[in-house]
Symmetry: C3
């Protein structure tokens, strides 16, 4: 099943990819690697403001991470024109805005990791680091960056 | 001297590699690069819970980083079957759970960097970033990820 | 216009590259990729100590990020002997020492991103993640690492 068929099955419509809000570009390719800029989590098109361990639950954080992964897919669709060009999700970095005592960053990050594996199957299985940061740009609760291998 | 001979000399026995506790895989290879997931520091097989600048000293943090490096070696042994396949440790990211005023993350990270250089010699010399995070998964004090170049 | 001509136009004199203060090396090359260690921001040759959202403004943070980028260029000049060997700045990671409520890390990071684009033109356009950390080595306010593609 293609990534697009899986997205339809999951009833996910990719949003229009928005460009970065600052002085960088969404992706850079070098050889067969694609480095994807950090994407903050949004809700209804606006930054999903909040901090885990303060006013957000792990379940909400997991949903925010899933939203960030959907925006990452929108960026990949826009940049690659075809998600089937993704040979492998290599590495995820998942940053979780956290109080000093919130310790479930790995469960929050699963919201993104599980979606990528649903959409891409075996080629969605990735290495990962997740950790709690003091704050994120625009106050968003989650930020995710990726390294991919392209098929061509 | 091989990495294994050096480990014997250092009287280090590699533990059995444990799989990730969340929705990701320990390593992903792309070309000759191997991306290794973040490994949290453990003590006696359990997460080494603590925060630098609160209840842990720099020396304890350095030992925790060394423990994480030993677990990374265990993962590499499990995934590659032979540590001699490591051509170069390319890059380390060392995350240190820190109070807002602890500023010795680089000394903590040395616990891992120095071990990798002892075990691998010149091919253990790596680029590195280390910094203080608000918290880490399961409350561990240190988390380390690696990028390697493989010989074959 | 070469990177050196642009630096002269900007009236930037590269400092002498200083080696790392801990157990790592400034850069590691693998294939055509160059991984560059995190460089902390300095002022007058000393760590620029401070935290955004406490005693530093966004404008000061942006200047600190620009300083770190100049030191990164000094390291690249020292390691590569010729900045023209840089084919592309692929990826920047910009760490900003932040209070729990400072949310303009992306504007701070622009200080480095904009300089690299001034110096390198189109090959200076990069993917990026920026976020707020609890603290940085030696108390510096900003730390930046890079991944580059080399031309040869």
């Amino acid at each position: 099943m293609t990534a697009y068929a899986k997205l339809r099955e999951l009833q996910i419509t990719l949003p229009v990819a928005e460009g970065p809000v600052a002085a960088f570009v969404p992706t850079v390719r070098t050889g067969n690697l694609l480095f994807v800029s950090g994407h903050i989590a949004k809700r209804d098109g606006e930054p999903w403001v909040g901090k885990l361990g303060v006013q957000m639950s792990t379940e909400e954080g997991k949903l925010a991470a899933r939203n960030a992964a959907i925006d990452l897919l929108a960026t990949l669709h826009h940049e690659l024109h075809d998600l089937e060009r993704v040979k492998r999700i290599v590495k995820m970095l998942c940053l979780v805005s956290s109080s000093p005592d919130f310790t479930e960053q790995h469960l929050v990050a699963n919201g993104a990791s599980e979606l990528l594996q649903e959409v891409f199957g075996a080629r969605g299985k990735h290495a990962r680091s997740s950790f709690g940061v003091a704050q994120l740009p625009t106050g968003s609760c989650v930020e995710i960056e990726l390294v991919l291998e392209l098929a061509d």
